[in-house]
């Protein structure tokens, strides 16, 4: 049995899954002490499933804690930064484009040292081990315990960063070291910023993961703990301690993957209606389509793998006025403030009840609403949903739309532009289901010359590397397959240089594969 948990701002949801069967699901309130909420949710869902704790093979948790901590600059560590590439890159030092407040919270010290690679893989300058040691001593003297290392064209060759990390570790034993090429794609500043964010979260990640581990231990669960990351795949909890930044934005990914699982669809538009917002994304081959633009997190530009999500201010708790629905919402207070729940605020949920779409709360409390008012508000809600679906469509014509999330009751049985509208039975816990069924993946992002090795051979080698990486991350080799290949020719560089990204995913060995 697998347990999937989604820790959201309002609710902590859990599901118990055996093979492809959902044994039980539960929605609980997220508590101030998050791990206590996780304990409650898991305990209750196990009881509901009729199984025992010993039957649990693995626990998957999706959490927004690290994103929130970074954006709010809570519990962050100051970071010492080493960039390899001098004399190149000196014009733009690390964190050059960070907002001042974020920089103040995270900047410890920074040095740009010799090293790094040209686009053809030759060194810009040889590494200067003595200089690295010198900088590491300064970091140590300052009391820094966390280091981020970046390297020009590091994705071509991780050796320079690796050597630098080993040298730093000699001087700063016990320091936490993040290597940028383990995290990011090409684009030095974005990759370096991701490494710095990651380094700043390491201490917090250690605490959070240990707390989750303690929570499981408290329940007597010995099964491995995984955390979901932003591309819909899993990380072992020990890896999250190293790469907390990879959990950013895993929430929408989980609900989309959950929607795919609950309906058996792999090509669809998923509409996740929550209490305050609606997230619309596109499933392609069972995975969320990724965003092509650089995503700002806390004002810092990154190039993470992120799902391409359209977020609009419409949810179950959205305030309804004469001329607008949302974006203001009563949020988690809906169970007190919405009219059908005895409150005085007219919300989108009240409209859904008044128009007969949903039967929850006390419908008699809506008797004073004019039918025309209800009709207009409902029309507006359906228009907002239809428009956002249309904006995310990749082709006109047939499209399957899957509705999930607690606010899915807002939607009509038919929406313009949706060829087929599916609402799975467990629509409210799709995100926890997504966590429970997450796979593990490997991704390669390299610049290669097709002239030197030939396209077929080069791609074959990159595919093999991606699969190896997924297997190293815990995937069963026989279940691992390539899900995405992207080629981007580098203009002006001769020799048919192409930037290729290859992604492989596979199942975890859970001993219960259906």
């Amino acid at each position: 049995m697998r347990i999937g948990v989604d820790v959201g701002g309002t609710n902590t949801d859990a599901v118990a899954l055996e093979g492809a069967e959902i044994l039980a699901s539960i929605k609980t309130a997220t508590t101030e002490d998050i791990s206590a909420g996780v304990v409650n949710a898991i305990r209750d869902v196990v009881v509901l499933s009729g199984k025992r704790v010993a039957d649990i093979n693995s626990v998957m948790i999706g959490t927004t804690q690290f994103t929130n901590a970074f954006v709010q600059a809570r519990g962050l560590e100051k970071v010492g930064i080493i960039r390899l590439g001098a004399p190149a890159t000196r014009a733009l030092p690390p964190m050059v484009a960070w907002p001042e407040a974020m920089k103040a919270a995270v900047y410890g010290n920074a040095a740009i040292l010799p090293g790094g690679y040209q686009v053809d893989g030759s060194p810009i300058t040889p590494l200067d081990t003595a200089a690295i040691k010198q900088v590491a001593r300064e970091f140590a003297d300052q009391g820094l315990e966390t280091v981020a290392i970046s390297c020009v064209f590091g994705p071509l060759n991780p050796d320079a960063e690796k050597h630098c990390a080993e040298t730093v570790a000699e001087i700063m034993p016990g320091a936490s070291i993040t290597q940028a090429t383990d995290i990011g794609r090409l684009g030095l500043l974005e990759r370096e910023s991701a490494a710095i964010m990651n380094a700043s979260l390491r201490t917090l990640a250690g605490k959070v993961i240990d707390a989750f581990g303690d929570a499981l231990a408290q329940l007597g669960i010995t099964a491995p703990l995984y955390i979901t990351q932003n591309d819909g795949t899993l990380m072992q909890s020990s890896a999250v301690k190293q790469f907390p930044v990879l959990t950013f934005a895993s929430g929408p990914t989980n609900s989309m993957r959950g929607a795919a699982f609950l309906t058996g669809q792999s090509e669809a538009i998923v509409v996740d209606i929550g209490g305050t917002t609606t997230d619309v994304g596109v499933l392609s081959a069972g995975f969320p389509r990724e965003s092509s633009i650089n995503v700002d997190i806390g004002g810092v530009r990154t190039n993470f793998r992120m799902p391409d999500i359209l977020s609009i201010g419409l949810g179950g708790g959205s305030l309804v006025t004469d001329d607008a629905i949302g974006p203001r919402s009563v949020g988690h207070a809906i169970t007190e403030q919405a009219r059908v729940f005895g409150g005085e605020t007219l919300t989108a949920t009240d409209i859904a009840v008044a128009s007969g779409r949903a039967e929850i709360g006390d419908a008699s409390r809506l008797a004073d609403l004019a039918p025309e008012q209800v009709r207009q508000a409902d029309t507006k809600i359906q228009q907002m949903l239809a428009e956002s679906i249309d904006r995310m469509k990749t082709r006109s014509g047939d499209v399957v739309v899957i509705l999930v999330g607690g606010g899915a009751i807002l939607a009509a049985d038919e929406l313009p532009g949706a060829d087929q509208l599916l609402v799975p039975e467990k629509f409210g816990v799709a995100n926890a289901v997504g966590a429970a069924i997450a796979q593990v993946g490997g991704e390669i992002d390299r610049v290669v010359s097709f002239e030197q090795v030939g396209r077929e051979e080069a791609l074959a080698s990159l595919k093999a590397s991606a699969i190896d990486q997924a297997v190293r991350a815990g995937a069963q080799r026989e279940s691992t397959e390539i899900v995405d290949i992207e080629e981007l020719p580098l203009a002006y560089v001769p020799g048919q240089s192409v930037r290729v990204r290859v992604k492989a995913v596979g199942d975890l060995p859970l001993g219960e594969q259906a």
């Binding site: 590439g85 001098a86 004399p87 190149a88 890159t89 000196r90 014009a91 733009l92 050059v96 484009a97 790094g116 040209q118 686009v119 053809d120 810009i124 020009v152 064209f153 090409l186 684009g187 030095l188 500043l189 596109v282 389509r289 092509s292 633009i293 391409d308 904006r391 995310m392 469509k393 990749t394 082709r395 006109s396 014509g397 097709f450 080629e487 981007l488 020719p489 580098l490 203009a491 002006y492 560089v493 001769p494 048919q496 240089s497 192409v498 930037r499």
Partner: protein, 372 residues
């Protein structure tokens, strides 16, 4: 015209639009310019006609793969070293710095040099957009040689090229850039003030700033940025015509590398009518837009792809399946449409069979604007 720190993002947005898909993402350039302006303050742009006829002016530009520049950032000394090397060879100090292209990264870099060494930057450029090769500028079209030119890498290694003509200079510069790691800073087109005045496209830096500002203000006012952008061009002397060519979704995208360029095509279908289709071909920059088999716009006229909602310019590398975009056609400045200019920047220089037809004379007159 004065450019302040607060103007840099708007200017970069305008430069990205005028890049017509190419020219490189101006982001790195905008960071460099902000750094420099934080130290040296606002930048006063010089009017071309205020430069003395006998003064030395020269172009500062990045040459190489913009994607390499996103990784191997400059040391910050390259551009100035290349300018100084050229000055030293010529035995004369530069009076002002010029931009080669107003599209993309190279719209920003001359300002970085001007701001850093305290030289005026002339409000104008040699393309009115972006082009992929060294000789594709009005300076060359009007008979000013690109050489002597200097190229400098992050170590300060500097190569001087003196060539018999500009295509030859392009050939030597390109192989030098490869040896320098596919990205270098260049000083070229040394001219007298008089030569510059006879060949420059005037006020295009101001055009870029105005365009970026119009997009931002329209977004802030939630006032249909794409329409505001078109209205803005209608009020400018820059272009004889600016029109909405298409609104659609990208349904196919092909790219390949041929002779060192990003070559490819996208297919769009209409937002309202899937039978309404547009094909756009590109070689770094967008070259040709065809709607339902009819030519809409062709190089050197500007074909700009922007986000349908926000009017954010989308570079060739940023194109993705499923994007909802608006395609704008903007007539190239008259100096790029002369017979002499078309021999250098016309369709046949990009391997296209189609003859140049000015945007405003094509069979397709653009599409009606939608109202929300």
């Amino acid at each position: 015209m004065k450019l302040t720190l607060e103007d840099v993002d708007d200017y970069a947005t305008g430069a990205a639009l005028l890049g017509t898909g190419g020219g490189g993402d101006p982001y790195i350039g905008s960071l460099l310019l902000k750094q420099s302006m934080q130290a040296s303050g606002p930048l006063e742009l010089a009017q071309a006609d205020d430069i003395p006829d006998d003064a030395l002016v020269l172009v500062s530009a990045m040459i190489g793969a913009p994607t390499v520049m996103m990784e191997k950032l400059p040391s910050g000394d390259e551009a100035i070293a290349s300018v100084q090397a050229l000055e030293s060879y010529l035995g004369k100090k530069a009076h002002a710095i010029l931009a080669a292209e107003i599209g993309g990264l190279n719209a920003l870099l001359p300002l970085v040099v001007g701001s850093t060494i305290g030289l005026p930057v002339v409000d104008g450029d040699g393309m009115g957009r972006a082009f992929p090769e060294l000789q594709m500028v009005t300076y060359s079209i009007e008979g000013n040689p690109s050489t002597p030119l200097t190229l400098t890498d992050e170590f300060g290694n500097t190569v001087l090229i003196q060539a018999k003509d500009d295509p030859t200079a392009e050939k030597f510069a390109r192989s030098t850039v490869v040896a320098m790691g596919a990205s270098a800073l260049m000083a070229c087109y040394p001219m007298t003030g008089a030569q510059m005045k006879a060949s420059i496209l005037r006020d295009t830096l101001s055009v870029a700033l105005g365009v970026g500002r119009a997009i931002r203000q329209a977004r802030q006012a939630q006032a249909q940025p794409v329409h505001q952008l078109l209205d803005h061009f209608a009020d400018l002397d820059f272009s004889a015509s600016a029109r909405l060519l298409f609104e659609g979704k990208i349904v196919d995208l092909k790219r390949e590398t041929t002779a060192g360029f990003a070559v490819g095509a996208i297919e769009l279908v209409g937002l309202d009518d899937p039978a309404d289709q547009m094909q756009i071909r590109f070689q770094n920059e967008n070259l040709l837009a065809v709607r339902n088999g009819e030519l809409c716009a062709i190089v050197p006229d500007l074909i700009c792809i922007v986000d349908h909602e926000t009017a954010e310019p989308i570079t060739t590398e940023g194109l993705r399946y499923g994007q909802r975009v608006s395609v704008l056609g903007i007539a190239a400045p008259p100096a790029l449409r002369t017979e002499k200019a078309l021999a250098v920047v016309g369709p046949k220089n990009f391997g296209l069979e189609e003859p140049f037809i000015p945007l405003e004379d094509t069979a397709i007159s653009g599409i009606a604007r939608r109202n929300p």
